[in-house]
């Protein structure tokens, strides 16, 4: 167990370093930060002066070291546009995005768990067909389009829900549905497949032979094991949703990290873009690490097999 833990944590750290290198290369090699600071109209002399004052003329390796050092101290740089520390800008918007991601995930699970299990319990019935249809259609629907349709239908035609802003919980309903449909299809597929596999296993047959009630078999014995892979997928999906929030937040003008990312990209505010990419990737790495550890903790077979 300990060696598995160590191995998994080492991998996470290596991946984090890789991600930081990619972020650094993108913002310092593929792009000239001097132009970002001075603006597009700057002359060559201005640029040379800026490179000198900001230390951009030093070797890349030195600058990367400084970059990592600053990040370790929580300094992600200053926005070109607002001149505010980037980390503050992100942290004050993080609750909106986190709430959106959690609500969407809860919604996706609330539909996928019962529907996926029901589809596995009664294969080839209408419920199974419905589940498969939902999984296939949900995967193909462009989520920004779903968002626009929801706005037209519920916000404009029926006037039931607000369509822009993040002031109240009602503002999160349509965005959560939009982002939830994006997360749901793989969950339905996985839960259905997992339940079918578990229901065919020996211990379920034994439980049936012992006369345990079907209800108890399904919920106490089968679901518990079928749900194991769902834990890791949920973490992966949660990470995807942090990225997917950029589309949804920009449609519904939810003032979260995704909206900030989109605004910064439209205005080439490099320090903000770079910090968001790095932070969201780090959150994702930590989430998958936690999911793996949780999985190993929950499943004794994994614990011993992965020594």
């Amino acid at each position: 167990m300990l060696s598995f833990l160590l191995k998994r944590a080492t991998m996470a750290v290596v991946v984090m370093v890789n991600v930081s290198i990619i972020c650094f290369v993108l913002s310092n090699v593929a792009y000239d930060p001097a132009i970002g600071i001075a603006g597009a109209q700057a002359t060559d002399e201005d640029l040379a002066l800026i490179r000198q004052t900001y230390g951009l003329d030093r070797p890349l390796l030195v600058r990367y070291g400084e970059y990592i050092g600053n990040i370790a101290q929580g300094d992600f740089g200053v926005s070109y546009l607002t001149k505010r520390p980037v980390l503050d800008m992100i942290v004050e918007r993080l609750p909106v995005t986190a709430l959106l991601a959690i609500l969407s995930m809860a919604l996706a699970l609330a539909i996928a768990l019962p529907l996926g299990s029901a589809a596995a319990l009664w294969p080839d019935t209408i419920i199974d067909r419905l589940a498969q249809l939902l999984a296939v259609a949900g995967q193909a629907i462009p989520n920004f389009w779903a968002g626009l349709l929801l706005i037209v239908l519920f916000g404009v035609q029926l006037r039931w829900l607000p369509i822009s802003g993040s002031e109240s919980v009602a503002h999160f309903v349509l965005p959560s549905i939009t982002l939830g449909t994006f997360a749901m299809p793989p969950l339905i597929r996985l839960i259905r497949a997992g339940m079918i596999e578990v229901l065919a296993s020996d211990y379920i047959r034994t439980a049936k032979a012992m006369g345990i009630r079907p209800f108890q078999i399904t919920f106490k014995y089968a679901l518990k094991n079928a749900v194991l892979p769902v834990v890791s997928l949920s973490a992966v999906q949660l990470g995807f949703m942090l990225g997917g929030s950029i589309v949804v937040e920009s449609i519904f003008a939810l003032n979260g990290v995704g909206y900030l990312a989109w605004q910064s990209m439209s205005r080439s505010d490099m320090p903000v873009i770079q910090a968001i990419v790095l932070l969201i990737s780090l959150i994702y790495i930590v989430l998958t690490l936690l999911a793996d550890l949780l999985n190993a903790y929950m499943d004794p077979r994994l614990r011993s097999a992965r020594k």
Binding site: Y31, N143, W145, L148, L149, F240, G243, V247, Q274
Partner: protein, 300 residues
């Protein structure tokens, strides 16, 4: 090492021959495959023959004919079957040309990512050891960076265009190709015919691309469909956010973004391009599901 052409067909060739026949016989009886395959073929044909099919020039603006409704709103509008957009351009023609952009991106980005992912997967799966560890780390790194965010950031850096979108998506969508190829290669690498090829002194490229690759192509076809649909939807999202294909090109995602301001009064402007995207992505995914079904028995 090549076998002289006049010798009798060797066993593997016979095997592939029967497998193929079986595949098509099964495919013709598979309703999902026929249905989704037909839609996909139709969209491909529309994309290829767009200039012949489009009733109008998709770029021709006519301010006098702005925002004309489609035929189901007003039966008298015979001129523009699906109405016109905010610049008076014929919507049907733009939708038809939009198929070209989506298909170009789907095929271009998928080909590029297939080449990257399959090469990485073959090398990692065949050699194992520290090479495998290194490539697995690269795959994990790629997986931990959200695609849409990276794609947007990179496009914002280098400036948006159709070519940039294809290359950026091609550089980002290879992870599943690599993951699936790696596992399949590990399974196949120990087979007798691979050992035989090695003993015969075949080159590394021959072993990887001529011996192993043909035998793991079934799951890779499924991955290809998944990534094609993925590329179509990502391009639409990038263009929708203004960091993809640029105006006046008729990309379905860009059309949705342009229609955003008039969607409350002219909802068909957002319904139609979105429906096109949905149908294309659905058809590709269903073809993939059917392929998975059809090749399930013959996998590695």
């Amino acid at each position: 090492m090549t076998i002289p052409a006049l010798t009798t067909p060797s066993l593997p060739e016979e095997e592939t021959l029967t497998v193929r026949l079986g595949f098509w016989r099964k495919a013709i009886a598979h309703r999902t495959f026929l249905f989704s395959g037909a839609i996909l073929l139709a969209i491909t044909l529309v994309a290829i023959f767009a200039p012949m099919l489009a009733p109008y020039d998709p770029y021709a603006q006519n301010i006098a004919m702005r925002l004309k409704p489609p035929f189901w709103h007003d039966a008298n509008v015979a001129e523009h079957l699906l109405g016109t957009d905010q610049l008076g351009r014929d919507y049907l023609s733009r939708l038809i040309y939009g198929a070209r952009i989506s298909m170009t991106i789907a095929i271009g980005a998928t080909l590029m990512s297939a080449i990257i992912g399959i090469t990485l997967g073959l090398v990692a799966g065949y050699f194992g050891g520290w090479i495998d560890t290194a490539i697995s780390t690269i795959i994990t790194t790629r997986l931990s960076m959200p695609i849409i965010l990276i794609a947007l950031a990179v496009v914002a850096l280098i400036g948006p265009s159709l070519q940039v979108v294809i290359v950026v998506l091609g550089l980002l969508l290879w992870d599943q190709f690599a993951v699936v190829t790696r596992v399949a290669t590990q399974q196949v690498a120990a087979r007798d015919y691979v050992t035989a090829a090695r003993v015969l002194g075949s080159s590394l490229a021959h072993i990887l691309f001529r011996e192993i690759l043909p035998n793991i192509r079934a799951p890779l076809m499924v991955v290809a469909t998944v990534e094609m649909a993925h590329a179509v939807l990502l391009e639409a999202a990038l263009s929708f956010l203004g960091l993809g294909v640029q105006a006046p090109l008729p990309s379905w995602g860009l059309m949705l973004s342009e229609a955003k301001t008039s969607m409350f009064f002219s909802p068909w402007l957002i319904v139609l391009p979105g429906a096109c995207l949905f149908i294309l992505a659905l058809a590709i995914n269903l073809v993939g599901d059917a392929l998975r079904d059809l090749t399930a028995g013959g996998r590695g």
